[in-house]
Every structure is written in structure tokens, then in C-alpha cells.
Symmetry: C2
């Protein structure tokens, strides 16, 4: 068989059976081979960023990689921002990047570019097989590399002739590697910190913010009087009624500082030491308080829940985790604002929902309003590269077709990868998108002041303004086959959201809200 | 003054006064400085690819660089595909990529990534000033590097603290470098080839396809009996009634081969030696016929028109160029197809129009139908990275506000950077967009057969199909403030195009055409 057929059989044999695709000529043999391997599901996206973001959402929810199929260097470039977010999320993900035939590269045809340089910037693993006979083994290694804890982007650069040439056979899967257990002495050091006196903060991240990790961490906090926080932008946070709640470290340094203030010990469980998102004139980059000792209980690739459980058994034997009590806000009346929209969402969020949160400034009230809703997963913008939310929802919905997906999306961010809506419609995915339409890059209006800009004039302000002309997201959605409506009051949002959640398939609601209001 | 202010003053002092912008927090001081330097026009784009493509269109038409303002590595990544096209077009272009503060990078904050690796893949020049005092001199050098013949992408990586810190002063412009004159012996070698007997082909590219180069080349071809061709995807081709016509080398190798068949000498004037766009099983990559000698008369950075004129004076003294006679197709009736749409466009194309051509397979008939229209410029997809056309039109319209711009756009390609329409509306640009809506990746349907795939099934075909659901481009345009209509007959297209051309500001016409029909 040819390389492409052996490649796809190897992938499905390794349990990888979804490929978010935006192919070109150099990928045509891969595309043709899809008919020979019906188990592989090709999902067409209209832009590479919509494909890579979908693979990220899939990997976060399925816990195993999906593939993306991208067209040479420019195709990879278009997918790179969401691969950056996937890298920060430690998502298992296989990027297959079609390339010119091996012998064609030296001719510097128009699409030739430095694929390796781009791939290297986001990938934990990159390989470029030179012969069809090598392709399947490389593909098996790629899947294993993507899945290696904590998960990462593996990039397989696929020359067209390696894809079309015969002489290939499928390769068996490479056995997966388990997360590394955390040694006793490391757990013991964290125990000593907790018992040593002085305020202690436990910062959770990665797999530490799933239910098992949260329950162990809750026991520790309860028994040792430690403060519990999680990283600002977790890849996948399990939360809601019955699950121990954890506050996220604030995005704004001036709010994060009090969360950490006075800590003598900071125990990291799957999270990195906290730093500010951006630098600001005259302010430190590190958020670790002076004199605070940092202890790494578990790296992201370690068995974070296991380490937390071991620590809990030491310091909190017999102590129970403190579950979040069920609670929903009342359905609000009146004006639609970020706050009332959050209350509507909190009141109606279905059990088992997956929330793709790229609401940015409009989402400030979401955390509080949904904390006591039925159990759900919360996916956030891990790498700060906006344009993640709609594609991420695609992938989450493909991974979990039985669960409702909510994409909570800022208007400015939505426009980066708006064509993801077409895939929502084509695949009839059960995704309800709420666009927070405040008609501005509101976060930049805030940041303009925070970075120390004193006076701003018309030229600067106009570059943050999305109101001339106002984007009509109901028209944009209709143009891509997604039924849409516009809400201008809290009551309208509630009735529209209720209807959207009750019907299968995609919907979009444009929620018109004031900036930062 | 701070670095940002000195930077912008240096740019305007060097004649660079337009910045296509998609800023973030790390660029806020740059944005604020725009009010201090009103001569710099900031044009907001909703996606970085829309900004870089606009800068490409501006540079091609203005002959001097515009800037783009991009936000860290992910922002550059999103703009990279159109920077790739700009690189292939030899467009002078300055990319300003905001970065974290110098001291912040080592903290590996979420948006940290390898900007240098990405920038290196598309740039002729990259620099990262470390101090505010160095910034202005680096900016002046960047403008000069971008403008250095034949033109290229210069990338200035701008750390936030270098932007916000005081102690900077504007720097004077670096004197521009002229294209290199071509030595007499090189011109003489081309003369010898022309006189040496045997069929000769002159392949024009770069600045050789502007009026002066075409006139000289026409004289040479006329006097020496040489065949005249131009590169398949010129950055900017001057054409129409009164200008010598030149056939483009065909995109399909099987059509390009007969254009070059039998040539004993191939003279390159601003063009690279011809190669196939993609590799195909069993076919050679080079299009140079066996036994044909290749002569480089002028590299893209040389004075290509000057070299052609010198050669013409040697071989064609007193010979006049052969101008294209004026001719327009009759306005067709009946079905709307790629062919009848081309006739409508040829019948109505206004004098001085700038055409951004990303019509792909639907555009096969455009060349013939518009050849004898009044003089106009034709901009093509130089690097093969689709999603160029709408942004390119933005930049061309900003560069030449007195000229009508036509964006001829394939539906699939349009979706990559569809948000460019919003900037068309916001800036009230005189751009008429025609979307060739054939509801498929038709070129891939063709390529699927050309790469030797014998039988294709449903799975493969469905990945080339854009009909489920059908994209409604009139809704998409309305959602971004661009007045739009749909044409389903040749007569409707004619009346809608006439109206759009008569009114100022942007318009969009969705021309529903059959695939490859």
C-alpha cells in the first residue's frame, strides 16, 4: 500500500480516528486514503486555525490526540496560534503537515518555506520521514509522543512522495507512557512545608484540576489550613455542585497579589510558578511573594492527582473533601450586561456541559455565577492567542457528542476564526455559541491604562473600537448555516438560551452588552 | 520621548505613514503614540492575516513599505501566510512585532514563544532592539531593508519596555538603495543568445512586467522573433489596451510545457527559472526543456526594465513595441459561469482599475476577457497561500484611493481572511468584491486526479465540498457592513457590477457559478 494508507491505518490502530482537515494538493493522497480507512473521520474546516483549535478541544476532552491535516508551511502558519494554545494546555495533538515531494523542495516553488522552523516553535516532537517504508513507524512514534504525559503537539511533516509511494505497511502502536509517580521524599517535603508553620498556598494546574485532584487538594487545604488556588487559565477544569471549588489565580496582577500575599510556602501541583501575563512598567514579573519558598510537588507530566492523594493521606487522614454546594442564580430581569448574562448562564447551564470560555472581559462574572451549577468542564484560553473559543468548541463536541457544549465568546476574539461556525453547522454539532458583543477590544482599553499610558486620543481609541460598522453576528452565523438570534435584555437571553439548549445542533446568540459593564 | 514615539516619528520621516494594525497589550505604547504623530495612519484589521495582506497590497501599489503591527508570536503566526506571499512578491513591508518586555521573557508567560524562528521564515531582515536608545536607528534600518531592491519583509521585534522607556530620539532615514544596473557583458550574453539561432523564450518577472519592461521586451521579441512570457503569478502586472501583452506561464505543467517547448535559450528578466507549482508522480519539477540554456539577464533586485531596455537597444534599434489593441467582450446573456462572469468583468473593467485576483479555477477565463480592457494593474497570488485576495485589496485601495479596486475571489479562499471586509467598510474603501461561489475546493477536485489518485470515494470528495451548508456571502458581507447582492445570471452580474462600480465605497457580489464551469 502507499504511505498515506499505511499512515492512516497506523493512526487508527493507535486509537486516533478523527482528523480536522484543511488539505491542499500535496495532501491529496492522504485525503484519498480516507476512503480506504472508513474508521478515520475527516472533519473539514475552512481555515487551519479552526482545525488546530478543534484538535485542541478534542484532545482536552478525549484525553487522546486527534490529528489535523495542514497544507505546507503557510497552512501550518495559519494553524500555529491555536497550536500555541494547545502547547500551553499540554494537549495531546498530532499535526500532519503535508510538504512538497522530497526531490521538489530544492526548486523553491512558490509554496516552499521553512516548515521545520514553524513546527519547532510549538512542537514537543517533529519528524520528517524521507521514505514510505519509514512513515508508519514514524506515525506510531508521533502518536506516542503526542500522548506522552503531560501531552503535547507532535508534528509529522509528510512529503508528498512519501505519501504517494508504495512499499509501506502499517506499524503497531507504541505502548503509552503513564504519568510519572512522584517520589515519597518530594511528597514528604510538601508535607513538611504544610506542617512547618506559616501560611501555605497550594497552586493546582494541569490534571490537578480534575475531580480526583481537587478532592485530594480540598482535604489537604481543610486539614492543613492551606489556601487553594488554581492556575489562571486551566486547560480543563472540572467544577460545579459536588466537586470541591477552587479559585483561579486572578489575571490582573493587582488582584493576584492579595491571593498570594503572606504565603511562606507555595506548593505547585501541576502548575508553573505564577508570573504576570504581561510586563508592566515598574512591576515585578514574578507573582511569588518575597520570602516565600516554592515547592514543586508535581510537574505537569507527573501523576498530579496521585501526588495530591499521597500528600492528603499524610496530612489529612480521614478528612473529607469539601464539595461545592449546589446553587444557581435567579434568572435576572432587565438590562443585559456581563453580569446579568452570567446569571442567565449560571441559571441554565446544563449538567455535563462543556464550556469553551473566551469571553475575556465580558466573562468576569461567569466564575461566580456558575460555581454551583451542575458538574461541568471549563476550558480556557491557555496560551493567550485569541481565536481559540469557537474551534475548541468544535473539537469538544466531536469528542463528546452526548454532551452540550457552550462557547462563550468575545466579539473581537470570535472574528479570528469565525469560520468555525460553518463546521459547527456541517457536522451538526450541539454547540450553543454566545457572542458577548461589546463592540470593542475592551481588554485593551483596560490595558492601555494599566501599562501606564496617561492620556490617549482619538487615534489610539479608534484602534480599540469595533463599533464602526457594528458587527452583526446573527448575519455572520446565518451566512454559515447556524441559526442565530440577538438578545438585548436579560430576559431575551434567557429565553433564547433555553431554546438553543433544548434543540440539537448549533445555535448562536449575539448578546449585546456594554464594554466592561 | 519614549521608544514608541521615536519609532513612529522615524517611520514617518522615512516616508512610511500607514500601519495596518491588530494590536495587543504589549503594543499599547505604540498605539498611544499614534496620537502624538498624526501623520501615521493606523488602519485596524480584525485578524493579523488581514493586516499583513493589506500591507502587501499597499507595498505592491505604492512601491514603498507600509507597516503592520502584530501582537507577539501568535499574532505574527496569524499574519505569516500573507507575509509568505509578500516575500514571494518581493513587496517592501515592515512588520513590527510587539514582544514582552526584555526582562519578562525568561518567565515563560503564556504568550511567550519563539518569535525569531517565525520571523526568520519570511523576513529578509530581522532585528530586536534591546534599548530605547537603539530603537529609532533600527527602525530606519528596517525601512531601508524593506525597500532594498527587489523589496522584502523587514521584521522589527519590539519589546514592550523598549517601546515604553524614555531616552529615545527619532533617527534620520537611511538613503534608499537603487536597483543594481546590469553589466554590459550580461546584456551582451543575452544578445548573443538571441542572435545565436534557435528558438528563444524571454521570461519576465518582478519589475519587468510593468509598462517600461513590457515595452522593451516587446521590442526585443518583435525584432528577434523571441517568445515572450511572464511568470505565472506576478506581483503586479501592468496590462490592457496600449500596453504590450504578455502571456503568463501556465499554472498547469501540461500547459506550460508547450509554451516552452523547443526553446534553445531561456532569458530570465526578473523571473526565476520555471518550476512546477507542485510535484506530480513521475513528472519533472523543472519546466526548463532539455537542452535549453538558461541566461539570467536580470535578477529580481536588478534594474530589470533597464536591462531589457539596454538589450532592446542592441537587438531592436528603431523597432517599436506592439501595444495590445483595445477590445472588450460583449456583455453576455444567460447562465452565469466562470466564462460569462469573465466576459462581464472584461466588458465593464474601469480604466485604472486594480485587480486583486484570487479567483483560482473560476478565473481561468479572466485573462482573455480583460486583455484589451483599458489599462489596469493585476495582482496575483504570488506565494500560493490562499486568503490573500481580500486583504490585498484593502492595501491597494489605501495606497491608491483614487483608483477602483476589484477583488476577484474564490469562495474557499475568501473564508481564510473574510474579516477583511469589515476593514473595507470601516475605511470606506472603493473595493468591489466578486465572490466566485462554486461551493467547492474545485482546484483540489482537479488536483486529486492530477496527482494520480485513481478512484475517489465519498470521504475524499466530501473534504472538497463547500455546499453543506452553502455559504451565504451576502449575509457574511452584511454582517460586516458591506452592501451585498447575489447574481445567478450573467445579466444580474452585469447590472450589479455596474452599480457597484458607480457607487463609492465597498460592495460585494456573490456570483454563483458551477465548479470548473
Amino acid at each position: 500500500m502507499n504511505g498515506a494508507q499505511a499512515l492512516i491505518r497506523t493512526l487508527t490502530g493507535a486509537g486516533l480516528d478523527v482528523c480536522f482537515s484543511n488539505p491542499g494538493t500535496s495532501e491529496m493522497h492522504f485525503v484519498a486514503a480516507l476512503d480506504a480507512v472508513p474508521r478515520m473521520r475527516g472533519v473539514l474546516c475552512l481555515f487551519e486555525g479552526a482545525a488546530t483549535g478543534a484538535a485542541d478541544g478534542y484532545g482536552r476532552m478525549a484525553g487522546r490526540p486527534a490529528a489535523t491535516l495542514l497544507h505546507l508551511g503557510p497552512g501550518l502558519a495559519n494553524g500555529l496560534a491555536n497550536l500555541h494554545n494547545a502547547r500551553r494546555a499540554h494537549t495531546p495533538l498530532l499535526a500532519v503537515v503535508g510538504d512538497h515531494a522530497t526531490y521538489h523542495r530544492r526548486f523553491d516553488a512558490p509554496l516552499e518555506s521553512d516548515i521545520d522552523a514553524l513546527a519547532g516553535s510549538v512542537s514537543a516532537w517533529v519528524r520528517r520521514p524521507a521514505r514510505s517504508a519509514d512513515l508508519a513507524a514514524d506515525a506510531a512514534a508521533a502518536v506516542a509522543a503526542a500522548a506522552r504525559p503531560p501531552g503535547g503537539v507532535a508534528t509529522l511533516i509528510l512529503p508528498a512522495d512519501v505519501s504517494w509511494s508504495a512499499g509501506a505497511e502499517p506499524a503497531p502502536p507504541v505502548p503509552p507512557r503513564a504519568p510519572a509517580p512522584v517520589p515519597h521524599d518530594v511528597v514528604g517535603a510538601a508535607e513538611a512545608a504544610l506542617r512547618g508553620g506559616g501560611p501555605c498556598v497550594i497552586l493546582l494546574g494541569g490534571t490537578g484540576v480534575r475531580r480526583a485532584g481537587l478532592e485530594a487538594a480540598s482535604r489537604i487545604a481543610e486539614a492543613a489550613g492551606a489556601r487553594l488556588l488554581c492556575e489562571t487559565f486551566p486547560a480543563r477544569l472540572e467544577r460545579g455542585a459536588g466537586i470541591p471549588a477552587v479559585s483561579g489565580l486572578a489575571y490582573l496582577a493587582e488582584l493576584a497579589a492579595p491571593q498570594l500575599a503572606g504565603a511562606r510556602h507555595l506548593i505547585l501541583a501541576g502548575a508553573a510558578a505564577p508570573v504576570t501575563f504581561f510586563a508592566y512598567p515598574g512591576r515585578p514579573s514574578s507573582l511569588v511573594p518575597e520570602g516565600c519558598q516554592v515547592h514543586v510537588l508535581a510537574e505537569p507530566g507527573d501523576d498530579v492527582p496521585g501526588a495530591l492523594a499521597a500528600l492528603a493521606d499524610l496530612v489529612a487522614p480521614g478528612v473529607k473533601p469539601v464539595p461545592q454546594p449546589p446553587a444557581r442564580p435567579a434568572l435576572p430581569d432587565g438590562d443585559l450586561t456581563g453580569e446579568s448574562a452570567a446569571a442567565v448562564i449560571g441559571a441554565l447551564l446544563p449538567e455535563g456541559a462543556i464550556v469553551s470560555d473566551e469571553a475575556n472581559t465580558s466573562g468576569l462574572w461567569l466564575d461566580g455565577a456558575t460555581a454551583g451549577a451542575p458538574p461541568h468542564d471549563w476550558l480556557t484560553l491557555t496560551g493567550g492567542a485569541i481565536g481559540q473559543g469557537l474551534p475548541l468548541a468544535t473539537g469538544a463536541a466531536v469528542a463528546c457528542p452526548e454532551r452540550p457544549v457552550l462557547a462563550l465568546e468575545a466579539d473581537g476574539s470570535a472574528m479570528y476564526t469565525i469560520s468555525a461556525l460553518w463546521t459547527h453547522a456541517r457536522e451538526e454539532l450541539d454547540i450553543t455559541t454566545i457572542i458577548f458583543s461589546n463592540r470593542s477590544y475592551a481588554i485593551l482599553g483596560m490595558e492601555l491604562e494599566r501599562v501606564g499610558v496617561v492620556a490617549t486620543g482619538h487615534a489610539a481609541r479608534s484602534l480599540l473600537d469595533l463599533s464602526r460598522p457594528a458587527l452583526d453576528f446573527t448575519a455572520l452565523a446565518a451566512g454559515m448555516g447556524v441559526p442565530a438570534s440577538r438578545a438585548t435584555t436579560a430576559g431575551e437571553l434567557a429565553s433564547q438560551l433555553r431554546r438553543a439548549l433544548a434543540e440539537p445542533g448549533p445555535h448562536l446568540i449575539e448578546a449585546v452588552v456594554p464594554p466592561l459593564g
